[in-house]
Structure formats: C-alpha cells, structure tokens
C-alpha cells in the first residue's frame, strides 16, 4: 500500500515511500527532517503547519503527502538566504512579533502569501490575511506591526508607501 512520493522542499529533492495516509506535515517533519513546521491542532484551525506549495499556502496537516507528489514546497527553513533572514523573519524579530515562537513559522508563511498577493495591505487586510493562524502569546499586535514593517522593506520603491499604522 505504500506510494512513492517525490517532492522538492526548499530546493532539495526528496523521494520516499509512504503510506497514503501520511499527512504532508509528518512527511516534512519526519522524512525530510524539517521540524520548523509545527502541529498545533487536529481540526485544521491553527495554521502552525502552514507551508507553501507551488506558490500557495497550505495547511500541511490537511493534505496527504501523496497529494504533493511532484510539488515545489517551501517551509520556514527555506526563507533565509544564507545568513540573511527573509525580510519577514527580520521584521518579526525587530518588532517582537513572537514570544514562544510555536505559531511563528506558520504565521510567517501566511504573512508571506499575504504580501505576495497584496504588497501594501491595510491593517484590516493584514488581520484578515492571518485569520487561519492562531497565536496565543502576542495578541497579534506586534505580528501586525511586523508585517507592516516587512511590507515597507519588501515594496519596490519602498519609502513611497507608508504602511497603515497600528495604534
């Protein structure tokens, strides 16, 4: 009953035999050994497991590894370039957008999609863009600020667009 799955994660190819019931999140964590993608629920609500598959964010706990066969996957471990953090990682750090850090990988992946789709979101748009990710530590306040800060850095011709302010 095992199936062959070949995927590219953060630019590296992986190929394994898995049971069809293997959830992608377990594949990423156990087969690929990338434990930055977390599991925080069993009802697809928390978003801690969010990764990007072929350009779209997905809750990797709600997909079978076999469904990802052939896909290009990006996880939190794939964002930094060498020793340079991705602007979102840097902004979460700068703005204290995390405390325990457990939600953070999923949160950053969700934020990445948000900014890919809408480079200068309003505060409301940011908050709605994060509705699939739960954080219990930060009250989201500094997460919103971090995303605003990252948007500023990532925007082409940055300074021109001031992000909507929090508080």
């Amino acid at each position: 009953m095992r199936r062959r799955v070949a995927v590219t994660i953060n630019g590296t190819s992986y190929e394994h035999e898995v049971e069809p019931r293997t959830l992608l999140v377990y594949y990423i964590r156990e087969q690929a050994g990338l434990t930055g993608t977390h599991i925080g629920c069993d009802t697809s609500n928390c978003g801690a497991c969010t990764v990007e598959i072929d350009g779209h964010t997905v809750k990797s706990c709600t997909m079978f590894a076999v469904q990802a066969d052939g896909a290009q996957i990006t996880t939190i471990e794939g964002l930094a370039k060498g020793s340079t953090l991705h602007p979102l990682q840097q902004a979460f750090w700068d703005e204290h957008g995390l405390q325990c850090g457990f939600c953070t990988p999923g949160m950053i992946m969700a934020a990445k999609q948000l900014l890919d789709r809408n480079p200068s979101p309003s505060e409301r748009e940011i908050r709605l863009g994060l509705e699939g990710n739960l954080c219990r530590c930060t009250g989201y306040h500094n997460i919103v600020k971090a995303i605003q800060a990252a948007a500023k850095v990532m925007a082409p011709g940055a300074e021109a667009k001031a992000p909507a302010s929090v508080s």
Partner: protein, 286 residues
C-alpha cells in the same frame, strides 16, 4: 490524529475516476481539495478504505463564460473563485462568498465541486448555488446528467449524487445587466463557519425589483430559499419600507438548528437582519 489506513489511486481522466469508483463501490470516496474529507478522516469520523484523488485531472479548474452561462470546473478552488475577474464582474455573490470561506489556506485548497458535494448545511457555496439556480453537471457510469441546485442539496451531508458519480462542472446562467448579488455571513470568529448567512441576487430595473433570489445558510438541514421574501419583493418597488417588510419573512418555512453557536430564534432573527442588509446593500447601488 492520523487517519485510518486506506489505499489510494490518482486517475488522470474523469472516466478513469468513475471506473475506479464503480470498481470499489461503497468503500471508496472521491478526494478533491480534501478540506472537508481529511479533517473528518483525521478524527476517524470518516474511514474510507479507498480514495480516488481527482485532484490531478486536468482542465477541471476553469472559470469561463460560454453561451450565456458561467461555467466553473469542479476543481476550481475557493481562491480561484474569490480572485476571478469574470466572477467579480458577473457573479460577485459567488466571489464574495468565496472570500468569506474559512481562511486563505483553506481557500487555496478547497474546491467548489467538493463544497457542493459535501452538502454541508453550514457551507457557504450551497446557498449561493441555490440562489443562482445553478446546475451541476455530473458524470457517472451511465454518462452525464444535470442536476438543478434545488434538487441537488437533499439533507445534511447528503446530495443527490450517487456514490459513483462525480460533479464535473457548475453552470450558472449569466445574470442580466442590472442584476447583482452579495453574500452576508455572520459568525462569531473570523475563520468560522456561518451561524447564518444570506445569499442575495437581485435584478433591479428602474426603481423596481424585477427579480430576486435569496439563499439561506444555516437555517435548516440544507440550504434554503427564502421564498416569502422573494414573493414579497418580486415586481415591487425597491424602497426601504418594501425591503424591510419583505425581509421580515426571511425565516418563513425554515427549520434552523439549535447548537453551540445559536438558538433557532436567534437564527431566525439573524436571517431577517442579514436579508434586509443584503437587499439594502444591493439596491443602494441603484
């Protein structure tokens, strides 16, 4: 949790998929976006022993206009629908509803075919399809048939599909000019399912309501039409008083459930409020 073990096949065409379903019988299930099925399997509330993954069948995620219809492939995702320029222009009810489903990650995976087939009384698309008099094109071992939305949604998690049938396409007559719609959803928390939602499509001509359709989410064991409202308004003026009076009939003939999110009374009340607000919002544009 990890789902119970199952076997799995990835057909490349619809006929192959149907053939697999026929071969496996009751133990098999179609897997599309997986965003209703996988959560159930993880809790082991659903334990199919065979999955037919239709996710790789090509050319099933289109959204296009043809012969006076908007045709949407069963594999079009909620995200495709939310961001479709065609739908934003022609069927804002549907793109607007899509934007309110779950969260961005859910919308990236969930499909309209899956959402329809799952026939969840709290799902957002069913009430829209009902209000839009959509038709579902379905393929099975005996070929293809069309099922009208009003016949498709039978009961909680029960559609008119046979176990070996697959929804291929959803067809909606392109609304005439002057016709527009909106979807108003009420829930306690942003990512949640509706407590009650209202899908309204209205055709205004001059100051009159030429046509009106109201679909209700969360008001019974399947999506419902608020026919009382429709009767009260069809062919009448679109003035505030007319709308208010009509909206009061929104809960007629419904049988809303009692659950943690709301009592039947509250739901009836919400249906009226949301219906009025939806109608006001639409007619305000004219």
């Amino acid at each position: 949790m990890i789902p119970a073990a199952f076997d799995y096949v990835v057909p490349r065409t619809l006929p192959e998929a149907v053939a697999e379903l026929v071969k496996r019988g009751q133990e098999a299930k179609v897997l599309a976006g997986g965003h209703s099925l996988i959560p159930l399997m993880k809790l082991r509330l659903s334990t199919p022993s065979f999955l037919v993954d239709i996710g790789r069948i090509s050319n099933l995620n289109y959204i296009r206009e043809e012969d006076g219809h908007v045709a949407i492939g069963a594999l079009a995702t909620h995200h495709d629908i939310e961001f479709s320029d065609l739908l934003k222009k022609k069927l804002p009810l549907l793109s607007g509803a899509a934007a309110q489903i779950g969260d961005p990650q859910v919308r990236n995976r969930g499909t309209i075919g899956g959402a329809a087939s799952h026939a969840d009384p709290f799902g957002d698309f069913p009430a829209c399809l009902l209000a839009l008099d959509a038709e579902l094109k379905v393929v099975g071992p005996k070929g293809e048939r069309n099922i009208a939305a009003r016949d498709f949604f039978v009961d909680t998690f029960t559609s008119a599909l046979e176990p070996d049938e697959i929804v291929r396409e959803i067809r909606i007559a392109t609304p005439p000019t002057g016709s527009t719609g909106t979807y108003l959803k009420f829930s306690r928390r942003s990512q949640d399912w509706a407590i009650v939602a209202v899908a309204a499509q209205v055709t205004v001509s001059g100051h009159n309501v030429a046509n009106v359709a109201i679909g209700l989410t969360g008001m019974g064991s399947r999506p419902l039409r608020a026919s009382g409202v429709e009767q009260a308004l069809r062919g009448k003026g679109a003035h505030d008083e007319d709308i208010r009076a009509a909206a009061e009939r929104a809960a007629e003939g419904t049988d809303p459930p009692q659950d943690l999110n709301g009592s039947p009374d509250y739901r009836r009340h919400l249906a009226q409020v949301l219906t009025r607000r939806a109608l006001e919002q639409i007619t305000a544009h004219h």
